[in-house]
């Protein structure tokens, strides 16, 4: 191959590594001190890009020149730093002690809020920023033209690394930040105001995110998809480098930059897959990344269902529920039946996640992977082999179970935030496959023509089929939760070491639970595919995973039946409110944040607490 071409390719790999590092560095510093994985970090990056793309051209009109350009970039980053401080004071400060799941969900709530706010403030169209004065002409490298701005970016990464290193090693602030990374209570006992330290850290982290975003404006236009695409990559960088490690993030960014630059030559469509595969491989070998360490402080903060005295007349309640479900078609029209069918599907999906989170303490952030696998498994069987629905549903379930068994084998070795990130990565890999392997999966368009067998076609029969499958599966899962196997999972959730000390094979149990939950989610996915007649990659996306988590949170993580209620309420609200407003994501995000702050026990949990307090 042409050496000049390889050199240019390597250089562009270096420049994207630099950009990625600057952003990921902020994420890893914030995590190191606050122990919060800030989903909103990508949103800060996006705000940085929008602010710079809006601000810098105005400044250049006043005074054209390189100084103005770079001052504008810095000013944008500073503005984002202040926004980070606001987020810290209003939200993060209140959830430092909360379970990881709540922290992830609350910061994802911020992501949703920012998505709508950015459109409101900057408008829906992409904004192309100005090119940097003085850096417009390309340079020649071995006879090939290479943008000179990219060379500046290549230098920016190591410069930021050096400055951050100096800040952390040579200043009192840095010493305290590193001390707080290890033991917050001890730092407070020495008279250090943690609140100030944390706010300062958030400023630094948000500044770096904003800088990363602002530096992009001559390369790509600011757009509304930037937040989730960068956060996925930044997660990979921080996890591969070791959460909290700045040099680790730098090394990981370098590797990922080169992987992307050269991976595109070997597998033109597989850049996403390559990145997430790297993460999977690194975590399989080093469960805490290059320079990360096992979490010592705090543990995993598992929250989950606890033992309760069973409600009196449970069988009667079950009978009434079944009777209502069976009688529903007598009163409902086709639209209501369709809504009810979807609610039942998502109730099953959320309930399968409850087995992982509420019972097993396995905080999966990629449960949509198995929902999607079930849906795609069924759809592919119909499309490529022409099988009937009766065969396709079990095939989808089997594919999801197989996928979950495979992913689970990696995942059960991890805990806490690494586990959440690994499951997220697994879901993103599958998403990338579904999105990029167009010949088989239909890419973005997905697969259409996935219709049920004639006897189950039509709203009423399909609703009844869904209701029957959901009720039976939920009862089966409930039986599993109440069996000794479920108790073992809960024991391991509350204390892994003690569970192992009494002879439980924790990993094996968790792996089995992961597989079962995946299979149940796959069944839900298969039913969903036939209910809509089509599948598309969004079924595997982050937002589908977060939907399931929101249902859990809404219903109550500490209750067995909470997810079913949560699914119904969220779905009903969405169907009712979404057509009325263009700010659905803002409302959903604010609701998630409010639930985490005010109602962490969810609807069912709160109602039951009241009821028990009265009794």
């Amino acid at each position: 191959m042409d050496p000049a071409f390889l050199a240019v390719q390597a250089l562009s790999g270096l420049s994207s590594a630099s950009s990625l590092f600057i952003t990921a560095c902020g994420l890893t510093i914030v995590f190191g001190v606050t122990r919060i994985v800030n989903f909103a970090h990508g949103s800060l990056y996006m705000i940085g890009a929008y602010t710079a793309a809006t601000l810098v051209p105005r400044l250049l009109e006043l005074s054209f020149g390189p100084v103005t350009f770079w001052a504008g970039i810095l000013a944008s980053a500073l503005i984002v730093g202040v926004i980070g401080v606001i987020i810290e004071v209003l939200l993060l400060r209140r959830i430092y002690g909360a379970p990881e799941l709540f922290q992830l969900l609350a910061t994802f709530g911020v992501v949703l809020v920012v998505q709508d706010l950015v459109v409101q403030v900057f408008g829906p169209q992409d904004i192309l920023g100005p090119r940097a004065p003085g850096l417009r002409a390309p340079v020649e490298i071995l006879g090939r033209r290479f943008p000179s701005y990219e060379l500046v970016l290549i230098a920016a990464g190591p410069i930021v690394l050096g400055l951050v290193w100096l800040l952390l090693r040579k200043t009192r602030f840095g010493v305290l930040v590193r001390a707080a990374t290890q033991d917050r209570d001890m730092v407070a006992s020495l008279g250090v105001n943690q609140a100030l330290l944390f706010t300062g850290t958030l400023f630094l982290g948000a500044f770096l995110a904003g800088l990363g975003g602002a530096l992009q404006i001559p390369r790509v236009s600011a757009n509304t998809g930037m937040d989730l695409s960068i956060i996925a990559e930044a997660f990979v960088v921080t996890v591969v480098g070791g959460m909290g490690s700045v040099p680790g993030a730098f090394l990981a960014a370098l590797i990922i930059g080169q992987l992307q630059a050269f991976g595109i030559l070997i597998f033109p469509k597989s850049t996403l897959v390559v990145v997430f595969l790297l993460m999977a491989v690194v975590l399989a070998i080093r469960p805490y990344g290059f320079f990360g360490r096992a979490e010592v402080i705090g543990g995993t903060h598992a929250v989950g269902i606890a033992s309760r005295t069973p409600l009196p007349g449970r069988s009667l309640i079950l009978l009434v529920v079944v009777a209502i479900l069976a009688a529903f078609p007598l009163v409902a029209d086709a639209y209501l039946l369709k809504v009810a069918t979807e609610i039942l599907i998502f109730a099953l999906f959320a309930f399968s996640l409850q087995l992982l989170i509420g019972v097993g303490g396995i905080v999966s952030f990629g449960h949509a992977a198995f929902f999607g696998l079930g849906a795609y498994g069924a759809a592919l069987a119909v499309k490529w082999y022409g099988v009937s629905m009766e065969a396709a549903l079990p095939l989808g379930l089997a594919l999801a179970a197989l996928g979950a068994a495979l992913v689970g084998a990696f995942v059960v070795r991890l805990s806490g935030i690494y586990l959440a990130m690994m499951t997220l990565a697994a879901a993103q890999i599958l998403y990338a496959v579904a999105f990029q392997w167009v010949e088989v999966t239909g890419g973005d368009n997905g697969i259409v023509g996935v219709w049920p067998s004639p006897w189950a076609g039509g709203p009423v029969p399909y609703y009844l089929l869904t209701a029957a499958l959901t009720v039976v599966t939920v009862l089966l899962l409930k039986r599993i939760i109440d069996a000794p196997f479920g108790y073992s999972l809960r024991a391991a959730r509350d204390s892994e070491a003690r569970a192992e000390a009494i002879g439980l094979k924790v990993r094996q149990h968790r792996w089995l639970a992961f597989t079962i939950a995946g299979a149940a989610a796959g069944l839900a996915g298969g039913i969903y595919a036939f209910s809509r007649g089509s599948v598309d990659p969004s079924l595997l996306g982050i937002s589908t995973s977060v939907d399931a988590l929101t249902m859990l949170l809404l219903g109550g993580i500490q209750t067995v039946m909470g997810p079913l209620v949560g699914a119904a309420v969220l779905h009903a609200l969405r169907d009712w409110i979404m057509p009325l407003t263009s700010l659905w994501r803002l409302l959903l995000g604010l609701s998630i944040i409010a639930m985490v702050l005010i109602f962490p026990r969810g609807l069912v949990g709160t109602v039951r607490d009241r009821w028990e307090a009265r009794a």
Partner: protein
């Protein structure tokens, strides 16, 4: 008698629904060493943590230099001049000896000569030889010295010292005793939680015997020495 430096009355604390401290009342005066002695699980560590605001006390009435500690966050309690040395040492293992000392640095009150790394290295000569070493490469005894030195960097008026003799070599226990005497000579008061009776008896002026979260005895060390029956019953020595 002079006004007490630290005054605690009716201190109660619970972990969840289990109450572990019941109405503890005691005083610590300037420059004295008060030992909280008692069996494992008696509530000594919880007492110190409750004073620092690290476990929430259900009825904390405590003053330090006349200022109420109720409701204050931990860092403000520390800034009043109350140092805390936890039992599990909790050195910042990623930081060097000098950086660990830096985390504890606070200005000295007017008129007092501040503790500096150099002065502390004279008090703990072992540390002087390893200033650039990281906490994770130090022995338990060296970490114990560092954690006391780190707290002294804050120039406290009083130190809550939790089990300084636990799990370290006898020769270092001797150095700890000397360090505590040196602090006392500087006018620093020490509230010592200790299971090692011989160690506590050797350096303390007064003692509180705690049993199941309640004070069984409070008085001078000499009185406690004389009361063999009480010691045998509550301490097993």
């Amino acid at each position: 008698m002079t006004t007490p430096l630290l005054e605690v009355w009716n201190l109660c604390a619970s972990y969840g629904r289990a109450q572990v401290l019941f109405d503890l009342t005691f005083r610590l005066h300037q420059g004295e060493v008060l030992a909280l002695v008692g069996r494992n699980g008696a509530g000594k560590t919880t007492t110190l943590k409750a004073i620092m605001g690290l476990v929430s006390a259900s009825a904390k009435q405590a003053t330090f230099k006349g200022k109420s500690l109720a409701g204050l966050p931990t860092y403000k309690i520390a800034r009043l001049g109350l140092g805390y040395v936890p039992e599990d040492r909790r050195i910042f293992t990623d930081l060097t000896v000098e950086e660990n000392l830096e985390t504890g640095r606070r200005p000295a009150p007017a008129g007092r000569s501040p503790w500096t790394p150099e002065r502390l290295f004279r008090l703990f000569p072992n540390l002087a030889e390893m200033r650039g070493r990281r906490g994770n490469q130090m022995s338990g005894g060296e970490q114990q010295m560092l954690t006391i030195a780190r707290t002294l960097m804050g120039n406290p008026d009083a130190i809550l010292l939790d089990e300084p003799s636990e799990g370290i070599a006898p020769v270092i226990v001797q150095m700890m005793a000397e360090a505590i005497r040196a602090m006392k000579a500087e006018g620093v008061a020490v509230l010592l939680s200790e299971q090692n009776w011989a160690f506590a008896a050797g350096i303390s002026d007064r003692a509180c015997v705690i049993e199941r979260g309640e004070i069984r005895f409070q008085g001078s060390m000499d009185e406690l020495m004389a009361d063999e029956a009480l010691r045998a019953e509550t301490l097993g020595v």
